[in-house]
């Protein structure tokens, strides 16, 4: 199993612009100190709630945003150490499918123009070659040559997402980031698009990073995964291991929040209180403590490390790993009373 992508202590911070004069200017810590590896040919899942930094992390992976700190290695090469034209070449091997099929396609372009745009920019193919390739791609994603001159507005959401996929694989990438490819679609279309992704992966030998907030999708799609909360990884590793034995209270809550249609065994619902706090001034200790049903006093101030608890299973939680060997506040293992913890 060889590694295709590695992140080493990657952070991405955005400055907060403007704001009111009496507010301290801050930074949004969209991604904080993330390290992970993605292996050749696998699907790596990233899960977490809205705003936790999934898209930002994905953009950092393919060099679309520059990390504030840390490094991104693709096939062993540090992306940010590359000269512009070398980076462009490398970038062709890494493509992205976007979250919103309604706004990610240019409405004035027809299907041919949309799908051939990456080839057009590369500028190596003749018009005939491009047309033949586009027809081939359309068939691959379940559309047809008849659709060549139609516009995005003529297509349903699921069909638009197919166009986005055709475009993303047009340059034969080896690495594809799928950013919530089905979140904006109907349940019945979910399955069609996800099955298409699985088929393409087998045919074209692709490596996927699959971003989602639905754990049921991730369970089916992914070999390995990371659970993110407020810019940090809470739990990561082999998805079999995580689904069999979720250790972080946040992972457990996400699992409990997956609704299904069974009536025989109603699962116990852990409904998380409160909402995700602002990433501008994230909590000092564990970022999840305010919503954690099992938070302890020490969790407020001592940040947990991501520790390997079994082979390829990492978790960042004091409940699992115990507190580190640092000066700890009095009563650090006392539970946090309920009214303190809501955000």
């Amino acid at each position: 199993m060889s590694e295709i992508l590695a992140l080493s202590n990657v952070s991405v911070h955005f400055p907060v612009k403007g704001g009111l004069p009496f507010f301290r200017r801050g930074v949004i810590q969209a991604v904080s100190d993330v390290s992970l590896t993605v292996n050749q040919g696998e699907t790596f899942g990233i899960v977490g709630e809205s705003g936790c930094g999934k898209t930002t992390l994905a953009n950092a992976m393919i060099g679309m945003v520059k990390p504030t700190a840390g490094q991104v290695f693709f096939k062993g090469v540090d992306l940010n150490g590359l000269a512009t034209d070398e980076f462009k070449k490398m970038r062709r091997q890494m493509q992205m499918i976007f979250q919103d099929p309604y706004s990610s396609l240019n409405p004035r372009f027809n299907v041919y123009q949309i799908v051939s745009e990456p080839m057009f920019i590369r500028g190596e193919d003749s018009e005939e070659e491009m047309k033949a390739r586009v027809v081939e791609l359309l068939q691959l994603v379940g559309l047809s040559a008849d659709d060549l001159y139609r516009h995005p507005s003529d297509f349903s959401g699921g069909q638009r997402q197919r166009l986005g996929i055709a475009r993303a694989i047009s340059l034969n990438p080896s690495f594809l980031v799928c950013d919530e490819p089905v979140s904006a679609l109907d349940v019945s279309i979910h399955a069609q698009i996800l099955n298409l992704l699985v088929e393409l992966q087998e045919q074209l030998n692709l490596t996927y990073v699959f971003i989602s907030h639905n754990l049921a999708d991730v369970k089916k799609m992914c070999d390995r995964m990371a659970v993110m909360y407020l810019g940090k990884i809470m739990e990561s590793g082999g998805s079999d291991k995580i689904f069999k034995k979720p250790l972080h209270p946040y992972t457990q809550a996400l699992l409990a929040a997956v609704l299904d249609t069974s009536f025989d065994e109603r699962r116990e619902q852990i409904v998380l209180q409160g909402d995700i706090p602002s990433p501008i001034n994230p909590p000092a200790g564990c970022r999840f403590w305010q919503r954690c049903p099992q938070a302890m006093q020490g969790c407020k101030t001592v940040p947990p490390d991501l520790v390997e608890v079994e082979e390829d299973h990492f978790v960042a939680c004091h409940l699992v790993n115990g507190f580190p060997d640092v000066p700890l506040p009095e009563g650090f293992e006392d539970p946090v009373p309920k009214q303190d913890s809501q955000v």
Partner: protein
């Protein structure tokens, strides 16, 4: 059971340049007292148009509406003037839209917006209204409700805004609330919060609820009765538990299978083959037949009637399935 809503033979069409769109075709809908009724189906099947027709919110034109009866709380409202309707909508019927940000006034604090509901519809003084607002915000689980009442919508998160909308909808204790995809834009954990709040408030206030959604897992967690809609027609109606344990219509089976489950070990996702027909070019016979694995000759020719099948269940299918998934002869 007392009926809160009795809709009979609703038809809505949109004449367009590329043909007549029959968005809703002869839909009947019954909502009982304190009942939560779900209307489910894929995008474009006519859920929103149906619910807006009930509230008389559809613009005519472009819509052309024919309906035999809209009986709301014992009163025929299909011919009410727009002024009378406005009165009813504020007081006895409320609507929760998918996008909370656009349904709230951005330049008014959420507290003042809810106060206004009480002042306008229950004749409360500002002070009485605020007390009720704080209680309502507490009920929907907003921490520090008295302070939070002074927040503007943009200062709240998506889940909080959606719950503020719930508080507003329930403020006047309406008889019926129509919620169109109330949780679709929300994260899974927040969705769980909002659904729990919605169910709790509905039971606590004795309100009836019409829930519009494409997600059967949401239906399973909250509805009492389910109507499944396909391409403008009701194809199945059943009490929620019966629907999920023994669906009759092949489309319902397909929708259920499409919800990914955590306890499923297969790597493949179950899908319904094909796509929804274009609303201006619906197929002959049963609209679902091109996607149905059980379709036979008659299904291609004749639209099946919505037949009653045991107790309160209804199904529009020539060969409804039995509990084992086998086709009835």
């Amino acid at each position: 059971m007392k009926q809160v809503l009795k809709l009979r033979n609703l038809k809505v069409v949109f004449p367009t340049s590329y043909g007549l769109i029959r968005a809703v075709e002869s839909v009947d809908l019954d909502i009982g007292d304190r009942e939560c009724v779900a209307l489910v189906g894929e995008s474009g099947c006519g859920k929103t148009v149906t619910s807006q027709a009930v509230m008389r919110l559809l613009e005519t034109p472009p819509a052309v509406i024919r309906v035999d009866s809209i009986e709301f709380d014992g009163q025929e409202i299909k011919d009410c003037s727009s002024k009378e309707m406005q009165e009813i909508r504020g007081k006895d019927m409320a609507m929760i839209f998918q996008d909370a940000m656009t349904s709230l006034n951005p330049v008014m604090t959420v507290g003042n917006q809810i106060d206004e509901m009480y002042m306008r519809h229950q004749g409360d003084s500002k002070k009485e209204a605020r007390e009720k607002t704080v209680r309502a915000l507490e009920l929907i689980g907003l921490p520090e409700p008295r302070a939070r009442a002074n927040s503007f919508p943009h200062q709240l998160s998506g889940g909080m805004r959606q719950r503020v909308l719930l508080a507003m909808a329930f403020a006047c204790m309406p008889k019926l609330i129509i919620a169109d995809e109330p949780t679709t834009a929300l994260d899974v954990t927040i969705q769980a919060q909002v659904l729990k709040t919605l169910r709790g408030m509905q039971q606590g206030c004795g309100t009836s609820l019409l829930l519009v959604t494409h997600d059967l897992s949401v239906v399973a967690s909250i509805a009492d009765t389910v109507y499944v809609m396909y391409s403008g027609k009701i194809v199945e109606k059943a009490p929620v538990k019966e629907l999920f344990t023994a669906p009759y219509h092949p489309y319902t089976v397909g929708l259920m299978a499409a919800v990914p489950r955590l306890d499923d070990e297969k790597r493949k996702f179950t899908q319904i083959p094909g796509t929804v027909p274009h609303p201006a070019r619906k197929p002959s016979g049963c609209y679902f037949h091109p996607r149905c694995e059980y379709a036979r000759e008659i299904c291609r020719k004749e639209m099946p009637p919505l037949q009653s099948l045991g107790g309160t269940r209804k199904v529009r299918c020539h060969y409804p399935l039995t509990a084992g998934g086998e086709s009835h002869e």
